[in-house]
Symmetry: C2
């Protein structure tokens, strides 16, 4: 069963060898043993650097579920999620992750996954993209207003 | 100048105190001293856990630029990017990041940013979401096909 779903994720990855929508990555979301969302990488065709397979699949599944959470779902991805996609998975909260190839395999195909994992773990001042803090007090005031809000929906 | 753009990001964050599209976060993308993309958090209104302010702003700016890269751009975000958004920023490759509030400020407003930073840095086997590898050989074969492809567009 697990292999059948992973086979579909790999098939979606391979589709970009001919479709060239983006990199060779695919993902599916499964709930109650059924696929409820799919995605392949569409970075190039959509001019969207966030359109990785996992992000596309999560958005597709959430639309189908009419929910911003993937309760009791599993995600199958043809390659270990990059930090962006792993973060997206944590926000979507599925119960399990299956992956096939690794960040090192992606690196050998010239993708930045390993590099970005290293950057995310560094203190802000040591990262390659210069990062500057401004107006902390003014921004923190918005959180104070938010915390006092009765109508807010947490996620 | 920097404060003017951050002020706009904070204004977008504050708009969700009344609009309730999602959490109180805003971001703008700037190129040549002009705003070329904006976003506020739309997780709840769009049923999209990936619709953080930075992701929405990056997608908006890339659409306007007709490109999957934010060359020579700066991003201003009302709060330190979470790992998902920081990953998205690295894939989009702007030249500089400005942020206001911190992951700790977000944590005090009940958001998972700090927790997700810790998880992303852990070895796979120690993370809270169980993660299993399957079919590495079959998936790695797709990268081999990709590496042999002349038509591919790298990003």
């Amino acid at each position: 069963m697990e292999n059948k779903f992973m086979q579909r994720a790999i098939e979606l990855a391979r589709s970009n060898i001919t479709n060239l929508k983006g990199g060779p990555f695919g993902a599916v979301i499964v709930k109650d043993h059924k696929i409820i969302g799919e995605g392949c990488n569409e970075v190039v065709s959509n001019n969207d650097p966030t359109a990785h397979a996992e992000i596309v699949a999560i958005r597709n599944a959430c639309k189908n579920l009419n929910s911003f959470q993937l309760d009791d779902c599993e995600i199958y991805t043809s390659c270990e999620p990059c930090p962006m996609c792993l973060g997206a998975i944590y926000w979507a909260r599925p119960k399990k992750i299956y992956f096939a190839a690794t960040r090192e395999d992606a690196e050998q195909a010239n993708f930045d996954d390993s590099f970005i994992y290293k950057e995310v773990s560094l203190p802000i001042g040591q990262r390659k993209i210069p990062t500057v803090q401004l107006m902390k007090v003014e921004s923190k005031a918005v959180f104070t207003e938010w915390n006092a809000l009765n109508l807010r929906i947490d996620y």
